[in-house]
Subunit: 231 residues, 2 copies
């Protein structure tokens, strides 16, 4: 069992996950910020459980949220679902109320999954030095673009969501341990304070929140996992 108080009164929430997945972390961050109690079920991805295969027959992937027996798949869809079901009654609303601000939040969330993720993957997993260099170039461009996103979404407030953590915070927050891992392995700094001061400050601010810290994976274990998957 994990998560804080609150909860939806008799609701049963289970999350099928893998500790080393940024997409699972995102769902855990959403659950944590909304203060929801849930059962966390760790999956062995080399021997996926019958429950996982039955709950996500299309992709057979984690995370899967099971709410009163009904499965919800795909990380961003899970986060939106939690926000819609639990509204403002549990923690802050993640999606903004205004439809235009909501469209912007969805836009930047899609950008993070599309451009930032692919460039970080290329950078850390590229097969040749050329590929890694291209990944660094793209990652740097994505960070520069995201620096603009902080400005546009936060409007001078501490989070993408404004005064409290919102959808884009959770979506980007899921990548923090991997951004830190890449920094450590490459001796570089992705969210460089010189080039992306707002993003660098956000990284520190978000990472130091209690609701984030309690679900973040251990860095030493992540280093080991990274070495194993490169072997």
């Amino acid at each position: 069992m994990a998560g804080g108080g609150g909860g939806g009164g008799g609701d049963e929430l289970r999350l099928l996950g893998f500790w080393g997945s940024p997409f699972v972390l995102r769902a855990r961050l959403a659950l944590s910020f909304k203060g929801l109690s849930y059962e966390y079920v760790e999956e062995d991805l080399t021997h996926k459980s019958e429950l996982l295969l039955r709950s996500n027959p299309v992709h057979s992937k984690v995370p899967v949220l099971i709410h009163n027996g009904k499965p919800i798949c795909e990380t961003q869809i899970i986060v939106q679902y939690l926000d819609e079901v639990y509204g403002a009654s549990n923690g802050p609303s993640l999606l903004p109320v205004d439809p235009y601000d909501r469209a912007m939040a969805r836009f930047w969330a899609a950008y993070i999954d599309d451009k930032l993720l692919s460039s970080l993957m290329m950078m850390s997993r590229g097969k040749t030095e050329e590929e890694k260099a291209e990944g660094r170039k793209r990652s740097s461009a994505a960070v520069e673009t995201l620096e603009r996103a902080v400005k546009e979404c936060s409007k001078g407030k501490p989070f993408f969501g404004g005064d409290s953590v919102g959808y884009v915070d959770v979506v980007l927050g899921g990548f923090i341990p991997w951004v830190n891992l890449i920094d450590r392995l490459t001796g570089s700094r992705q969210f460089d304070v010189g080039k992306a001061p707002l993003l660098a400050a956000w990284l520190q601010r978000f990472g130091s929140l209690h609701a984030a810290k309690v679900v973040m994976p251990d860095m030493e274990r992540l280093v080991e996992l990274s070495e194993m998957s490169q072997a």
Copy 2:
């Protein structure tokens, strides 16, 4: 100018598009089914307008919806935005009311963009015969999976959205002309009535709706466009 009656009372809607884009068609389908009046601005993608570059500085792509001067980018985000702003006051609500049904609709919409699109692209644009054969295999698997989606979402009713057109109908509907094009060019049938009877019936049903027909591109022009892009 295009679109029917209704409209959001003094609202100004402009859509920057390209006639041969399935993603633009999706936005036009949403506008059409919601009965919204809008100005359609055709873009020359070899010489993108200043307005497009300014409205979508991140991706420089169509479609872009401009609502009272504010740009919204990315096809699925535009459709959700229109649905949220115009609710049930203009045409049917596209997203279901129930959060679980909404999560399911988002899941299948993501599946269509991910699996169906990539397999159709591979099939029609593959560089080798092997690649095209792999595309056919994947497309066939995607269609089989989508046949299940029709059953799950429509619950025996005519559309994914139930009695009226919904989000998944619009998202998949945007691909109809390209599915028909591939059928014509390959002499095959993607949504085969033997293998996917519900999907085949849906294709006919959706394609014959007035609100769909008025925005569908001309097939002969599509054939020409396809020949030009293969040349």
